[in-house]
Subunit: 340 residues, 2 copies
DNA sequence: TTGTAGGCGTTATCAA
DNA sequence: TTGATAACGCCTACAA
């Protein structure tokens, strides 16, 4: 069947040990021997069994990531790009990437993490879409299991993360809208348990304060980070007697859903109504009109997270364990006009 | 550290063997014993080591899927949904899903498959975005490695797949456009090595013939299945002296890019120009105007593929190994108007 | 510089 | 009904 190290050794009339060491680059192997081993192993198509190696070395050479699916039609481009970053980086380090899917805070989610941790199936885990009080953080920390996160949690546990300063970003966005003449700026958020919601919301409030707009609770709606969620929430906002002249979506998908709602009631986005989002994925560039957004470096974040995780797993110190990046405000036609 | 079967056995003063069999549901275990074992194992948080089990059983309990990334900004919603389907189904069967990323026909792609096959890291592989002559099919078949595919290849090798009858679908779409008065119907395709291109192209040609439109090579452009590819290709088409009144994109992203190009030259999609795509992801529902598309059941396809793969791995016969589904033509505002 | 041997945690075979 | 034992394929002290 498949060729094992034993087959290679037999063919060369060497011991398994020597073959193993030759391939792993140990110094105490005669150059000639090493050459023979390398050549033969390749010729025979030998690849070490991952399972055997894992068992022996007690590590998996794999990292895990659980996608926060919100249903069967899960098409957030944020995550495509995030996974691309994780996958590329994992492959570059000769690691496997294990992916599972589970709705946030579901029983399925718990089972997945438990399995990965207990069965030692992965060496470390990447978390995203953090919650303020995140059971995953507690669980992994208690089990002493290496993990890194995209965003932080509000807990006593310290862990490495990369986060975007969304608060500053959203405040900047509100200032931009204020400068363009908007006074009724609405906000479509996400469930309050998510860290991203709390921070972006804070940015929204901060921005309002900075431009001297009184906060109006009627202009706030909650979505679920999907296009449809944004669509439904925007429908309500646009049905108000005093409707907003600008809508900020907590992410691009929410904003894209809102754009659709606006069109359906006959409003021209970029003239009658301003709409902006957050994430800066490709999709936001191709909407009509192109969507103003706060762009975050998704791919780079994923890449960097994997690298941090690897160091963490190896027990090496991280020179930076709390990285904070600024999102870039990209002003496009959806808000690039003066209101009134 | 982590609790092994040995710990459980010791605690219960039983042999490892008995514990193992009790947990695996063998019949020759006293009910009382099994109860004790189950309870204690759970209480101690015992989870079998995946690596040890793999080594012993000689299977990985994992399946693999390589994402055909086309760069760092990889955000095709098709694949989000596809992965969601794979992941959910894998989890439901207590399987791991291994994901890697590589551009089609790259050296990286070859390395990934070689590693998975040789190191027996996965029990089977799901292929997608098939090519007419697909080295993966050849390689996996030669190595007797189980795989299933989304779409087929034009090769002598027989393998299980699910495919969409895109040809019929696209022909239907062209007829729809013809019925609405279009005579200059353009097509933005993908590189010819992909099976999907050849089939959708054939559907386009078939449709033209059916409605009696003479094929005009000037109305054909090639994209790369991304929004930007569609955008650039459409720019060229729309710059023609005799520009098309309708554009068909080989997939939704291509069509979405084309919509943007149309807007930039001042054309109103859904009035001056018809545009349609293929895939039927959420994104196409929220464009302006909503995009006519051929919807394929992405999630269900992924789910079914995993189930087929499992049977295949287990050596069970598949009652259907070549499944062909029809995409559904969803007519939306982007084409739902009479031209001229 | 090379080889011997033990064990990583399971499961399967065989015996008791 | 239970237990002792031998692998699965690899790595690594330690011995030669």
């Amino acid at each position: 069947m498949t060729v094992t190290i034993r087959d290679v050794a037999k063919r060369l009339r060497l011991s398994i040990t020597t073959v193993s060491r030759a391939l792993d680059g140990y110094a105490d192997v005669a150059p000639r021997t090493r050459a023979r081993v390398t050549r033969t192993a390749r010729a025979m198509g030998y690849v070490p069994s991952r399972a055997a190696r894992q068992l022996r070395r007690q590590r998996a050479d794999a990292i895990g990531y659980v996608l926060p699916a919100s249903g069967p039609h899960f098409t957030d481009p944020f995550f495509s790009e995030f996974i691309a970053g994780l996958g590329d980086t994992a492959t570059a380090h000769n690691l496997d990437l294990l992916i599972s899917i589970a709705p946030p805070d579901s029983a399925a989610e718990q089972r997945i993490y438990a399995r990965w941790v207990q069965a030692r199936q992965v060496d470390g885990i990447v978390l995203s879409r953090m919650r303020l009080r995140d059971w995953r953080v507690k669980y992994l920390a208690e089990n002493n299991f290496p993990f890194v996160a995209h965003g932080h949690a509000r807990m006593r546990v310290d862990f490495p993360y990369i986060e975007l300063d969304s608060q500053t970003g959203f405040a900047q966005l509100v200032r931009h809208l204020g400068a363009r003449g908007h006074r009724r700026i609405a906000y479509i958020g996400a469930p309050a348990k998510f860290t991203l919601q709390v921070e972006r919301w804070a940015g929204y409030r901060q921005g309002l304060a900075e431009v001297g707009i009184k906060f109006d609770p009627a202009l706030v709606a909650e979505g679920d980070l999907t296009r449809t969620g944004g669509y439904l929430a925007a429908q309500r906002l646009l049905a108000l007697r005093q409707r907003p002249s600008a809508i900020i979506g907590v992410n691009d998908l929410t904003a894209i859903g809102a754009m659709r709602a606006a069109r359906e009631v006959g409003l021209v986005v970029g003239r009658d109504l301003a709409i902006a989002g957050y994430d800066g994925t490709d999709e936001a560039e191709h909407t009509d009109p192109p969507l103003t957004t706060l762009k975050q470096p998704i791919y780079d974040t994923a890449q960097r997270l994997v690298e941090m995780l690897l160091k963490h797993v190896a027990g090496e110190p991280l020179n930076e364990s709390h990285i904070i990046w600024q999102p870039a405000l990209i002003i496009r036609a959806s808000t690039d006009f003066d209101f009134k």
